[in-house]
């Protein structure tokens, strides 16, 4: 029941019920039509086998194809493991930055640093990847600079390898790691850290026993979002990794757009979703957090 201030006549009760329905309707339409039904439709499609032109049967052929073709599941495993690596790197690189912004910077610089962190957040993936291409390609800024400085004597191609893809991905998702970390660390009372030192802890034990456990919701939230964004990313691996980047979303795109094999594409989509959800679920279980107190709070 809606809790509106005010009387309780029959009219009032009807009013509340009506308001409740009116408020629930947009939510229900949104979730049902744009999230639940599309996914059911996708599952249905993925379980369809083409037995003859325009003749379909129920079956697991698309999933069997996936299992029988090592390229497919290798790609998924590769995407997953690289995403985990990117998530770990983002956390390692981002945590000190977040700690500096939240705890070490003076009040004035804190706001400015956080703002600088936020601004690239609003720049499209495409532009960020484009920037990296301009820096890293054979005729790019870094290669030119190295030649000018006399360190190398011929152009170097930095693009189209896994290291570049990982750098690009870490760059792309970094801000989604830092923002939740800063907001949890910001809520942490400085005296907790001081008490930690006061009770005889050294830098490492204070970090491990006090700061990290306190920041756990932020860490988990950042990791979930970062992992999800990485595993689901398309532009950065394609543009920085080139044709051979073997990213799973590229397989989905190929099935859908190039081969027009929607059944297989849908099956791949479900597999990616299952895979990322499983990893996120495992992460939540291992860290003892829930979706509601991590992602929903950031």
């Amino acid at each position: 029941m809606l809790r509106f201030p005010g009387g309780g006549l029959m009219l009032q009760k009807d009013f509340r019920r009506l308001a409740m329905i009116l408020l629930f309707a947009p939510f229900a339409l949104w979730i049902a039509l744009l999230v639940v039904l599309p996914h059911i439709g996708m599952i249905r499609l993925s379980l369809r086998e083409k037995v003859a032109p325009r003749v379909y049967e129920f079956g697991f052929a698309n999933y069997l194809d996936f299992i029988n073709e090592p390229i497919y599941w290798n790609t998924l495993l590769r995407t997953g493991s690289m995403s985990l690596l990117v998530t770990a790197l983002a956390l390692l690189i981002g945590f000190p930055i977040a700690y500096y912004i939240a705890k070490l910077a003076s009040n004035r610089t804190r706001g400015a640093l956080f703002l600088i962190c936020l601004i690239p957040l609003w720049v499209s993936d495409l532009i960020r990847a484009f920037g990296w291409i301009l820096l890293l390609r054979e005729t790019g800024v870094i290669s030119s600079f190295l030649q000018w400085a006399g360190i190398v004597n011929q152009p170097i191609e930095f693009l189209y390898n896994d290291v570049t893809v990982i750098i690009g991905l870490v760059y792309t998702v970094m801000l989604f790691m830092i923002v939740p970390l800063v907001s949890t660390l910001d809520g942490m009372d400085n005296s907790m850290i001081e008490a930690g030192y006061n009770l005889g802890g050294n830098g490492f034990t204070v970090l491990r026993r006090i700061i990290v456990p306190y920041a756990m919701p932020g860490i988990v939230s950042g990791c979930i979002v970062v992992f999800m964004l990485t595993a689901g990313s398309y532009l950065t691996p394609i543009l920085l990794g080139g044709k051979n980047s073997s990213w799973f979303t590229e397989q989905i795109y190929n099935q859908f757009i190039t081969r027009f094999n929607w059944e297989a594409g849908a099956a791949f989509g479900i597999l990616l979703l299952l895979f990322t959800s499983t990893v996120i679920w495992l992460g939540l279980k291992l860290s003892g957090q829930t979706l509601a107190n991590t992602v929903a709070k950031s």
Partner: protein, 286 residues
Amino acid sequence: MLAQNRSTPFLWGFRLYVAVFFVFLASPLIAAGAFAFNDSLFPALPWQGFTLDWFFNDTEPKLGMFHDRRLLRGLYYSFVIAVTVSALSVFVGTTNAFLFVRGRFPAKNFFYIVMVIPLVIPGVILGISILVLASDTANYLENNLDLELEFLRPGIFLVVLGQFSFITTITSLVITARLKKFDETMEEAALNLGASRARVLRTITLPFLRPAMIAAGIVAFLVSFENFNTTLFLVGSEAPLTITMYDRMAKVGSTPVLNAVSFFLMVGSGLLALLSILVQRDKSSR
């Protein structure tokens, strides 16, 4: 502050690390923006001198972005899509905020998690799932009822739906956080002073939510404008700007006009982001 018992070299090392990090953050953006002003046919060194041709020149081969009709069309479609998505998602975000802050119904926590889930579904999957459902529906209607519904085929309508499906989660979270801070006795006070319920909503509650609604709208606009993954599968002939740029990059290769667009977008979104922060610092938020 908190480093009083750590050595100064440590702190300086820390600062150096932070500085290097911000160089890392800024360099691709600077590269993307700076070459817009290089008087060269390629976005690469050496520097050939300053020019604004990539913005304003009206002849090939240095066709500026403000004379490139395909880019301008992309910009226009992006704008239309972003405005629609942010209007819709702010509306639903506001009703969701009221639903979850004021409503009492069974399984509320479950539904709240359901509300958050679209944010953790990969954008590609949201895109294809909506494409599949829309196409299935369109095919069904065409085969069985002989009804041709053009808007269910890839195009602006589906792009709007696809982006709306996850951006609404963002706006809902922003507006819910603000509504939670609202002191409900304010509504009772207004009611007590003789205001009708509609008037209370109009003069008290919505003005309180306004900064959050504007900020959520700006965030929604920017996220919609830059979205690529979901849009990619739903786009029809009216391609928004990111898709147009991607096509250009894939087909023509990089040209400085893309740097000009990048610069334009960075400045535009920077200003909007700043605006959203200023709005949230509004005096009534205290």
